[in-house]
Symmetry: C2
Subunit: 437 residues, 2 copies
Amino acid sequence: METNHPVKPEELSQQHPADIADTLQRLPVEEGLTLLQAMPAEPAGHALVELEYDYRAEVVASLAPQELVRLVQPLEHHETADLIAELEGRSREQIIQRLPDDVALPVRTLLDYPEDSAGGIMSDRFVTLSMDESVERSQERLRNSETFLSDDISYLYVVDAKKALKGIVSFRDLVFAAPGSKVSAIMRKQVTCLRLWDDQEEISRQFAHYHYLGLPVLDDQDRVVGVVRSSDVLEIAREEATEDMQLMVGLSGEERVLTSWKKSLPRRLPWLLVNLATAFAAAAVVGMYEGVIAQWTALAVFLPIIAGQGGNAGMQTLTVIIRDMALGEISPGDGRRALVKELILGIANGLAIGLVVGAVSYLWKGSALLGWIVFAAMVLNQLAAGLAGVLIPFTLKRLRVDPALASSIFLTTITDVAGFFFFLSLAALAMRWALPQ
Amino acid sequence: METNHPVKPEELSQQHPADIADTLQRLPVEEGLTLLQAMPAEPAGHALVELEYDYRAEVVASLAPQELVRLVQPLEHHETADLIAELEGRSREQIIQRLPDDVALPVRTLLDYPEDSAGGIMSDRFVTLSMDESVERSQERLRNSETFLSDDISYLYVVDAKKALKGIVSFRDLVFAAPGSKVSAIMRKQVTCLRLWDDQEEISRQFAHYHYLGLPVLDDQDRVVGVVRSSDVLEIAREEATEDMQLMVGLSGEERVLTSWKKSLPRRLPWLLVNLATAFAAAAVVGMYEGVIAQWTALAVFLPIIAGQGGNAGMQTLTVIIRDMALGEISPGDGRRALVKELILGIANGLAIGLVVGAVSYLWKGSALLGWIVFAAMVLNQLAAGLAGVLIPFTLKRLRVDPALASSIFLTTITDVAGFFFFLSLAALAMRWALPQ
């Protein structure tokens, strides 16, 4: 047993907050709470930020207001806002009122932006320079405000008298510049910016696409109000990109191995019931041909093969498309290209698999007719799988639904229904025309 | 039609290299080549680096040696090495020999490290300071070497006489330090480092976990030989994390919507044939009970429901685990926790779905016995799905295979085989004991 000996708060405090969080979220919430309360605010507050979503929500809801206020004290405003955002309206107000005024005000502002917008993920800690100041004077001023600055600030933002962004200067630029030159002379004027309401998924795509280190966030009047850093986006990018894997099979997108079964059940069961409804559609197709199966039982043996091959091929197509959509690498016109490619692949795969499965069926059951039926059904089914694999995500996207949402459930419905229909209707036709009654 | 008017190289050159690459890889390779050759080396070289894997390999292989040498000229050494790595031994040597000596040597060194190691992804462009130098003297020296420095360098590495790493200084530190102080006095001594052979997946986990901006890479003698930046890791993190979605369903992990069908077919078809082999296992189970189905055809109608529910529930379990493994959030001991959780969920989901599907079967086919058989088979199948969803990825991991590899294919085999066996053997038993012959 790994967790036999109790965790000591003094030892835990020495670790990196991300590692402290890892340890805590493997313990029952009550134990986690006790440990957090026994640690100094500095590591405990940062560890709280690093906890996984469900566990963190429980911890934040269970902490006494004065204890939560203690823990958020070493945090940046946007981290505090993220934690408080998990509370209901009244408890939220309780906490904010206990915060010092110079924290409560910015936290309130940050809470107004949607969680998944630039405003919701940005830090409001950044440094501005005035255009007309000299490099020397700027350096001096910075030296005196050192406490305000953290390690991960790479750029300084140059603003005019109305606080509107005019350019950026890196610390590197400051080091290299002649001390007497004006800030406006060394700043770079072409600056990529984010707007407060930009979507975080789009932001993470931009960071990955253009390899940004950090971008300023502007309000309606072009004033810098925050900054988004690549280190913050990295975690979002990993989570967003993998969320789709979960959505495809009917999961919340936020479930972890450590999520308790009580939380999982109400999230998973509804999608399993949706799947059940769609499975009945496939069953109904088989039901339509019960008479045929009654006369030719060998057909039943091939149902799992038809369903399995259609499902797997369709999932291949679907996954390629969902992944490219998640990575933001789909442009207008790519849908048609994808369709053409997948139809060709459907025919090619269908012919190859159909030949194998047709030959095996013939050898197994001794009926050449069955072999041909299986062959033809497989080609048609592979075509349907490619078609469904392309059309489902593009249709969901056009309906402004996440293209991954339950897509594997819809896909297997189509491949099952189409596959069984092709196979059993061909068999029914064959029995009527080719077999002696 | 979006691509009706030809793309002009002069206009293309003005865009960001990542956007140029986006345009190029939607054109046939010959057109892409012509455009690259018509553009100045500066944007064209950087665009070449940004092309997606398959397209880039084709372009690099088709470029004349002198043209490739022209295009890599504005690139960093590690980018040049990445491009050359795609060529065969002889063509590779041809290019390297045409490079200037001060480029050929470092490129050769970088080519020696595995592509997915710290050595394979690091940049060899970084700046060192001496411990005994003053801050003022360091700044002066840096000012004179400006051409060597790029924008995205945040840290300077402090080394001793043997070039071993002793600490780091940020540009910010340099700006704030008193000009007369020694570098050794302002440097931070606790530095997280990477080693040349560290795995890139592990590196991207560390960057996401600890929010690093950049980390130095050391050789055996603790000398700094390169630096890995968070902006480089971001793209790796997104690709690694989503690769698993592809591996699960039998894709290469590198397929894109734009990948041609000729490249896709030989990658997808083998896994479809593996799936076919496993589908025959499920078919064989049905075959064992052909006699039972012949007497009770209604059973065939329920096969798709059994298979569909087992497959979907198993995929939910599998996906939660694969995702946590991909994000590096599984610790020893989590396997047992996952097993307990999934078995509880299997029973709970099984009872809920079993009741619904049992009741519907009774109402549809008018047989209470059939209802009970479907109910019992569903509970057992959901348990088997949970069990398989946990055991498959942990077993693959223990076998040192990627836990995602073809896992959905193995999973549906188990849920199909187990589900059909439970359902049909229960039906066979019931027919023998409960139904009047």
